[in-house]
Subunit: 234 residues, 4 copies
DNA sequence: AATGAATGAGCCTTCATTCAT
DNA sequence: GATGAATGAAGGCTCATTCAT
């Protein structure tokens, strides 16, 4: 797998460009210039611009999944800890900036406007993780809770997480820079969402009570980057 | 103010086109053809394509707000009811399908990728409603709760609401048609989100307890369409 | 002759615009905006853009001629003085900046690229003055000098004068600002051209001799502006 | 360097079009149609219309200079002969019609209204020849003659030469066809201008004297076409 | 496999002109 | 006479794609 052949160079260059500009605004020339290859290469290797886009999205998905995996849970891991882990993993995967964030951006574009060719991909990617979340939740709710209820709870949790990527620009507009720098690290957001959701599920004291809401560490979790800034302060 | 003049015709035609195709992919020709006016009219009435886009986004928000307004609250309205109203209004605005849904789609585009030209616009339009939510929340949390905490709670609620529009396609893939038709009406989703959030805030019993979670009607609210299907079953 | 009717306003506005931008680059909108009249007025009053242009050129000609006339010569006025007067009048007419110089610019455009419709105009304008110059020259050359010779001498003198308007931009590029400000006033250029030509005609000592070439004042001439800068020092 | 490649074809086609119509009126489509190439080729090879124009102007000057060069002067060549050569070369370059005259027309356009983009170009191309003229003149005037005086003399000579191209149409209107055919060949005009100027400089007898003004051949000069008609007799 | 050149469709915009009031 | 709106024809330019080498 030569990492330097034309095809790979194009793919590496296409990711960020598509992520930043979107499919319509990105030009084949931009990508080829970034990849330092000939304009005709795209058509030769991928057929046309759209095929290149699809390949790029696929690749983004693979890279992202490989990057941040859910921790291994033992049978004795309390469900609340599992939920905290889940949220942290999701947030980190989407907002973590240690690597180029273009993968998330690109995938998010697909979530918002699924290309026909990418529908299956989206399904394969989200469904398994969705199931994990459901099983974690099932441990926390009263027995007999109907599936649809679990699904809605799951979406409530996912919605909170996705929001910071999906509406990240709006957040950056509404919240001033200082507050963002102090309270919007990946870890802080993950903690908040976990606590909020656990409170809703009756696993901890609700927000309006005096009970401490200090984020509770869960040993198994290999949280990588607690204090990263997630919103650029352009 | 005739409702049939060229300017209005263009604006009406531009909405759906921009919503479906986005700014880059939408062509002035398409819009003018749909509006049955000359191509040069856009330039005459709006200056250029970008100004037309901005006007269209503005109009989308105005129409949407006019369509579904927050109810009037008396001083004695309990904060929990206010929150329920807020969530319902938001969900209805975004998912209610009684009129053309292009307004929501267009605004959502701005939420996801604010155009440089629309940043200020976004700020002016979203900020006020964000502030309403904050003030409602402040009535429910312990005195002294810092602003940043309120902001994050607000985003947790907004995130849940937006999720069904933003990731609507993914939801439609994961949840089968029958469940969607039975449990994903605008009203049902609004109820769920309200209950989930109120539980997190300690205003009602948490989800895992036995206490009933039957949606609680709040008299003041003039909810219009409780049982609309929000996901097309194409 | 109301000086404020639409037609006149357009004509007044069109002059400078056509002079600066030329026919092709000037837009009807520019002109109408400057004249503060409706765009449709041009077509109403002049038929189309080209007719307006022709009218504007005509008007430029009339204004210019009225502005700087040749002085009245008595029968005893020496021919050399007549030549000096002629040159000064010509240079002043073309470069004098006391009024808007757009008339000269516009007429010069016609000289360079005569519109079919303006050919007669050019002829009527230049021919009479050309004849004056010829008759002055005839007083200075040996009897029997053929007409063609006189014509060529006349063109040599005219060419020197026109050059500063025609190639004014190039002069401004080649000659630095200081020299222009010190030695390129209307009066100085007129003096130089007159002396150079008189020397060629044997009326005064040639340039390479020691004989003074101090510009010789000729009483009859009402030279208006001796020290004006003729090249803007943008 | 095939003489038939697209780039050259465009350049060859652009010359006459720009010369006849000017920058604003010439259309890229016209040029490409004349060159029998695709419209996009201009963009590919030159970037945009303006760059093509600049290249065309450059080329016009190079071609013209290559066609008609100043003769080589030995150290003993008398300055008067140099001046005659200079004038003849200039006139020939501008009026010689043996090849396509678009080069002169195009350059003359720049002389009259230097494009912002071409200002530096104009300076670089005209300055050297201007300097040659100045150095020739310096040999003929009294030592100590100030620079500005030399410059003005130079412009007097240049002005006479340019006049026949710049105001050629007007000359053709004023001078009847027969006289033009008998006395307005390139060589005759060059001779006249040289003699007139030399007389002004005291190098030869002035015009009004009896001294013969028969054009004096200067051996070194390889004048190519002495009897060309310079004004078309359409 | 790779390249530089070439292509044609299409987009946004501008402009002179006309129309209805 | 005068106006604001509307029109259609281009014009310059960009872009994805293809061709010949």
């Amino acid at each position: 797998m030569s990492t330097d052949d034309t095809r790979t160079r194009i793919l590496n260059a296409a990711g960020p460009v598509f992520a930043v500009k979107g499919f319509a605004d990105a030009t084949v020339r931009d990508i080829c210039q970034a990849a330092e290859v000939n304009v005709a290469s795209v058509n030769y290797h991928f057929g046309d611009k759209e095929q290149l886009y699809i390949e790029t999205v696929k690749r983004a998905h693979e890279l992202k999944v490989r990057q941040v995996n859910l921790p291994d849970w033992s049978e004795s891991t309390p469900p609340a800890n599992k939920l905290r882990d889940f949220v942290r993993t999701l947030i980190t995967r989407m907002l973590g900036t240690h690597a180029a964030p273009w993968q998330s951006t690109l995938m998010m574009r697909e979530v918002l406007h699924p290309t026909a060719a990418c529908r299956a991909l989206v399904k394969d990617y989200f469904r398994p993780e969705f199931n994990v979340l459901i099983s974690v939740l099932r441990e926390m709710v009263k027995e007999g809770t109907p599936d649809y209820k679990l699904h809605q709870i799951a979406f409530s949790i996912l919605g909170q997480c996705l929001h910071y990527r999906v509406a990240g620009d709006v957040v950056a507009i509404i919240i001033d820079e200082q507050e963002r720098s102090e309270h919007y690290s990946v870890a802080q957001l993950a903690d908040h969402i976990a606590e909020f959701s656990l409170a809703a599920l009756g696993q901890i004291q609700p927000y309006s009570n005096d009970a401490a809401h200090a984020p509770q560490e869960c040993g198994e979790h290999s949280s990588t980057q607690r204090s990263d800034e997630i919103f650029s302060t352009e």
